[in-house]
Amino acid sequence: MGSLYSEHRSWLHACPAGLKLGVLALLGAVLYAMHGVPILGLAALACCLLFASLGPATRPVRRLLRALLLACVLLLGLHAALGQWQAGVLSVLRLLALTLLSLAMTVSTPPSALLAVLESALQPLQALGVRSERLALQLALMLRFTEHFFVLWRRLDDAHRLRTGRAGGLRLLAPLTLRMLDAARRVADTLELRLGD
């Protein structure tokens, strides 16, 4: 699960992360407010040109363009099946424009900068119980636990196969949950020692 950030500097690398995220959100809203095929076509073309202008910086995400094209074909097909060609074309143009914009932002913004912006953006949610500080630690723990889930799932599945000769499947969900909740308690004890709270 590597980052898609490109070390190859482009003109967009110099823009602040918060500005890029804000512009992306604003352009997203504007694109959905547009309803004409010509204007959306122009917008999609502009986004293609912006993406292309980043040059070698787009190398980490070029393999995703094939998936984007496939998604466009499927989206158009779905709308065609419902008898809505124009709506299909509009949806495809929006998808193209927004995906290329967000890919341009992803390759030109270091993950640490995005994290800082997200921490600031999440602060209003603190009243609802969402703690935005130590977001990097939370994400790192999330990834570590994800890996541990699969390790533990494999161990439980191997044990189940030895006992029954069959794969465990969803039967392992309950024992896996108990083991992981227990693991979380042990991690919490370690964190309390390390962080002091």
Binding site: L125, Q138, L143, F145
Partner: protein, 189 residues
Amino acid sequence: MKPSQTLAQVSLFAALMAVFGLIPKIDLPLGVPITLQTLGVMLAGCLLGPRRALHAIVLFLCGVALGLPLLSGGRGGPAVFLAPSAGYLLGWPLGAWVTGAVMARLPAASPRTAALSAVIASALGGLLCIHACGVLGLMGIAGLTARQALLGTLVFVPGDLLKCVLCALVVHTVARGLPDWRLGGRSTP
């Protein structure tokens, strides 16, 4: 609850969402699709309570926003929040909060009672809320009519009902195996 416990539990359930996203889509008989991430939302709500469940799902969505391919099908990045299915994504935190809020108020004195409460909480938060947000998203972003959006979302309902039952089974197991666990984030077990 101590901040370290909150941090560990929130990260754990965000990881559970990631695990469910990495597991391939399952097709039930008659071609009904089932992805497991809404089960993660239900479990977070029932086991963590509203505030920490909301935190866990928001943390997971932050990972997605940062480009991690944690959604089913290996999707990730900011563009997914502007796609036609964004309503479902944005419905997850709300669904987790509602599931937790309902679970905290329903009885859980015994494992069986806790399981029944989990079915109700999951259905209200993990099914009704998420599908409502999903339908609004399909109407607003994909431009579908209400009828088309409702028909499009109904195909997922049988799978989600099955997930409510799965969630209840897990809650039953937790209530038996960890009797001091505070289901729904309540102040006493």
